[in-house]
């Protein structure tokens, strides 16, 4: 299938699969989906599984574990662990499918028929990169100027200053980009 149809079909299929998986109420369909994902997306599956283990699994485990522990405190007995385990399994399966689909779809090409969305994505990601560099520099500068480790109030005051710098810089960048786009005939 030619681009951008291929990427669009992949993304639409991935989204439909994610919603379908979020409706699963037993481990069997989730296990089947995991096996199918491993088969369909075998190239790079280990990389995506590592990504899920790093980004999604700890948060899901923490949330499900904390919910079970809070229910234990409130009710006096440990609740049935199966629904909590299912929460984690559902989150992990959806994430693995979504990450695997995203690794195969070209988001830029999928958005080609929508030039406004495409430009917005590029502009946002470029600005995120520029602003993150500035934020990191500013926070390192704050730490280097203080004789002790910055506390919550120092960080908040620093964050306020960084935000002012980020907002003025990002609005200036926005004007520059608008001028550049206009001069290139967009």
């Amino acid at each position: 299938m030619p681009e951008p149809r291929r990427s669009q079909a992949l993304l639409a299929g991935g989204l439909a699969a994610a919603f379908a998986l979020s409706a699963a109420r037993s481990p069997a369909p989730l296990a089947a989906a995991l096996a199918l994902a491993a088969l369909l997306f075998r190239r790079g599956i280990v990389r995506q599984a590592r990504r899920v283990a790093r980004a999604v699994l700890p948060v899901s485990l923490l949330l499900a574990g904390a919910s079970a522990a809070a229910a234990r405190l409130a009710g006096g007995a440990w609740p049935d662990p199966a629904p909590y385990a299912l929460l984690v399994l559902r989150a992990v399966t959806i994430a693995l499918v979504v990450f695997s689909v995203l690794a195969r779809a070209d988001l830029q090409r999928a958005l080609l028929p929508f030039p406004t969305a495409s430009r917005l994505l590029v502009l946002t990601l470029a600005q995120v990169h520029a602003l993150r560099l500035l934020a990191t520099d500013s926070l390192l500068g704050l730490r280097s100027r203080m004789p002790r480790k910055p506390g919550a109030v120092d960080l908040l005051r620093g964050a306020g200053g960084i935000t002012a710098a980020l907002l003025t810089l990002s609005l200036r960048n926005a004007r520059d980009v608008a001028d550049a786009m206009r001069s290139r005939g967009f």
Binding site: L156, A159, A164, A174
Partner: protein, 216 residues
């Protein structure tokens, strides 16, 4: 504060998406639709700003930390609908790039974090800003986070009511577990809003109505 994928069923997520999508379209057309040339870079800049703000972690007692949201600040500067559109984009980027939140819960998270919280903060600020501008900014930041958290708790409670086997934690437990840290995190968000507003004022950025922020 995000709801992760898999914690809410399509019975909750699809109606939320059905509410959020037209609101995004309306907000984008209203505030960013006049001229794509001028609007896109500004929207990209604001979204990027919100993404970066959310990476700033504030330590809270107990050894943990909370992250700032910054959506209330955007609402105070540019209006709640601009904040909603930008926060929707932030959540989409976080779901796709970082695995935070998720694609199925995008509507729920956007309504809670991008619309209800910032709207509450914006209304509170408008009501109190004349006599007490700094207190109004603090309360707007604090209350915005509480309303967002309460909305997330409400969505999880609805899921529990629909099917307790799907989301087993009782609403009371979820409320205590989420609202207590949120009350502490809200103090950080309120102080951040006050500091940012004060510094933006010094930098010559005026706080105005929707889309009315300008450099002096």
């Amino acid at each position: 504060m995000h709801v992760p994928d898999g914690f809410l069923s399509p019975q909750v997520t699809l109606p939320a998406l059905a509410v959020a999508a037209p609101l995004w379209a309306w907000g984008a057309r209203r505030h960013f639709g006049r001229s794509a040339l001028d609007a896109l870079p500004v929207m990209g800049a604001l979204t990027a700003l919100a993404v970066v703000i959310q990476t700033i972690m504030i330590p809270v007692p107990g050894g943990t930390s909370v992250h700032l949201v910054g959506a209330v600040l955007l609402a105070l500067l540019f209006g709640p609908t601009v904040a909603f559109v930008c926060e929707g984009l932030v959540l989409a980027i976080q779901a796709v790039a970082l695995g935070a939140g998720g694609v199925t819960v995008l509507g729920v998270n956007a309504l809670a974090l991008g619309l209800l919280g910032p709207l509450a903060g914006w209304l509170l600020f408008r009501a109190l800003r004349a006599p007490f501008p700094r207190a109004a900014a603090f309360l707007a930041g604090w209350a915005g986070m509480q309303v967002s958290t309460a909305a997330v708790v409400g969505a999880l409670a609805l899921q529990h009511a629909l099917d307790p086997r799907y989301f087993p934690a009782p609403p009371g437990v979820v409320a205590v577990a989420m609202l207590v840290p949120s009350a502490l995190g809200g103090v950080a968000e309120g102080m951040y809003t006050v500091f940012a507003m004060a510094l933006l004022g010094k930098a010559g950025v005026r706080v105005g109505e929707a889309g009315g922020t300008a450099h002096a």
